[in-house]
Amino acid sequence: MPQTEEGQTEKAQTENSSRDQILQRIRTGLRTVVAEPVAMGSDRVIFEPINNPLERFQQECVANLMECALAADSAASARQLAEVLQSLPEGEIFVQDDPSLRRLIELTELGRAVRWSSQGAPGEASQATVTLAEALIAQTGSILVTASCGGRGASVIAPCHIVYATIAQLVPDLATALSRVSQERTLDRNSFACVISGSSRTADIEKILVQGAHGPRRLVVILQTAQSR
């Protein structure tokens, strides 16, 4: 950050008496010179390069205890969605209010009550939430969602979270996904984002893995291989 901006930053403070003292202590402390080892050469490759993103994504989904269903087009996606929804108990579902999801829900021809994200957050009664994602990440088998994907609760409140995505959204690795978030200023438009890698879990008792802790027990990605929704 250039020096000229620093003055403005200092002004942007909240009511706070210790703030300046702490900053002063930090600045005084940093005057101490610390010997540092030489930085690493940039030629070292930390992660294995991803050659086949789709294959990698599918592998990681299995490892992360999540489901990935490939669908050729929107009709096939609707069939996949219907299949998942039919396996769930009776009750309403929560759906992100987006034209593509409205079309998809229509195509499923199921008589389930739908609560749209434009009507507010999902409630405890929701059997499933259906949302879009900002991106899919092959390296870690993750989906990236933001507040725009139906809000914060949409990916955590219901026992089943279904994500409708297309192959064009698949990026090779975390670095690509995060630098895109930076470049596109996604976090200026959203108060929240989350990289989700699998269903909720715990291993707090005797290190035994339990699938389905406070969040969804099932995370299903319907991945449409046709380029557009």
Binding site: M1, A12, Q13, N16, S18, I22, L23, R25, I26, R27, G29, L30, T32, V34, A39, M40, R44, V45, I46, A63, N64, S117, G120, A121, T140, A147, S148, G151, R152, G153, A154, S155, V156, D173, L174, L178, S179, S182, L187, N190, S191, F192, C194, V195, I196, S200, R201, T202, A203, D204, I205, E206, K207, I208, V210, Q211, G212, A213, H214, G215
Partner: protein, 472 residues
Amino acid sequence: MSQTAAQRFLQDAAVKSADLMHREVIRRGMDSYDAAHLKGRARIKDWEAARQKCQEIKREAINHLDRYLLQFEEKVIARGGHVFWAANSEEACTYVKNLATRLGVRTVVKSKSMVTEEIHLGPALEKAGIKVWETDFGEFIVQLREEGPYHIVTPAMHLLRGQIATLFQEKLGQKIESDDPAYLMAVARRVLREAFFSAEMGISGANFLVADAGVIAISTNEGNGRLCTSVPRIHVVVTGIEKVIPRLEDLAVLWPVLATSGTGQGITTYGTLIGGPRRPVEADGPEEFHVVLVDNGRSQLLADAEQREVLHCIRCGACLNICPVFRHVGGHTYGTTYPGPIGSVLTPHLNGIKEFKHLSYASSLCGACTSVCPVKIDLHHHLLQNRRNATEAGTTKSSERLMFRAWRHAMLHPRIYAVGGWLMRKALRIVYGLGLAGSTLDPMRVWNRYRSPVPLPSESFRARWRKDRAAN
């Protein structure tokens, strides 16, 4: 006279390391961690490069701490959030307590945060009449047991499923029908769901504060951290000033490395980024967003040319898991918020060298901690430096100083040393002969009380040396 921290440590360590049940539980837990950790490391092509990258990221952040904290603060405030800088525990607790009172908060849901343990936020809020729910499964269990977390990542790893079933039966007022971990989790989920939807305030920690994006990053597996930061109308983040990192892209390495070191996972299930309160167009989320930046002694470490890097710690728990001392004495024995090697290094800085210098000796200096640290903190050397610092600060007992003076004298005068050695061998032979090995009369009691006596050599090292030289 009440016990000192050092006396309590020795007493508890003796009890715990002789507790076979405890050893078995910890051994099983650590075995499964070890297997997962090794598998996780193998997934990263160049683990050493990853560690070095993480070290460089944290070093850059800490070396420009003021600048990055201000950058973070500016962004959060621009989004309508609040940032409070707390010099110590009291300031941090008072801020949260006043905020809760002002906004009519009666129930708080908390996700796991070691900084809130450090500043004792839970008890402070309870004292003000606010109900606090720990919602991480392990934290929920230890909260019901009214004890602190055993481990910084897995707070209830010292307990068996049967103990947890009994605990739930006693404390939750409902019939517990099984000790299956999945069933027990489901019970906790039901109880805590009610808490999530009735609480007005959610309190979380932060694994990272991302300066350029102005967001906090939280890693959780269970999803309780997600609910704490989504459902209640107020979200308070309590975290240490050292958690800052320069860029969002840094998480591309830090997230996998933290997950690998913490649990052996390739990545934690939820990597959440939050930069402010709910925006008007958003479907849900808290209306208030507060970040409490806690100093509590951290800024002092910046001026320590040897130990500044202790602030690089990302609290993964890897040094606890590998430490032979932790594995024997267990987490609670340390009597500190942060147990294990990192706790032994950090606690004297945060809570005083005089009371906690004994922790510098709770180590065999084997260096296992240093070898696994994902940000390459030179932990065992910092323990040595703390020993030196404590001695230089004059915290040692006069009897100890006298003993070392005598030792030094003997080392500089071979004849005196030889006589001393001879006397010691004679004395020990008598003590052993009388069957007093390990008793209070045994000078080797510290070692001999739990072990078969150290065998005595028939002759001194010097005598053997001379003989061997003559033979060759």
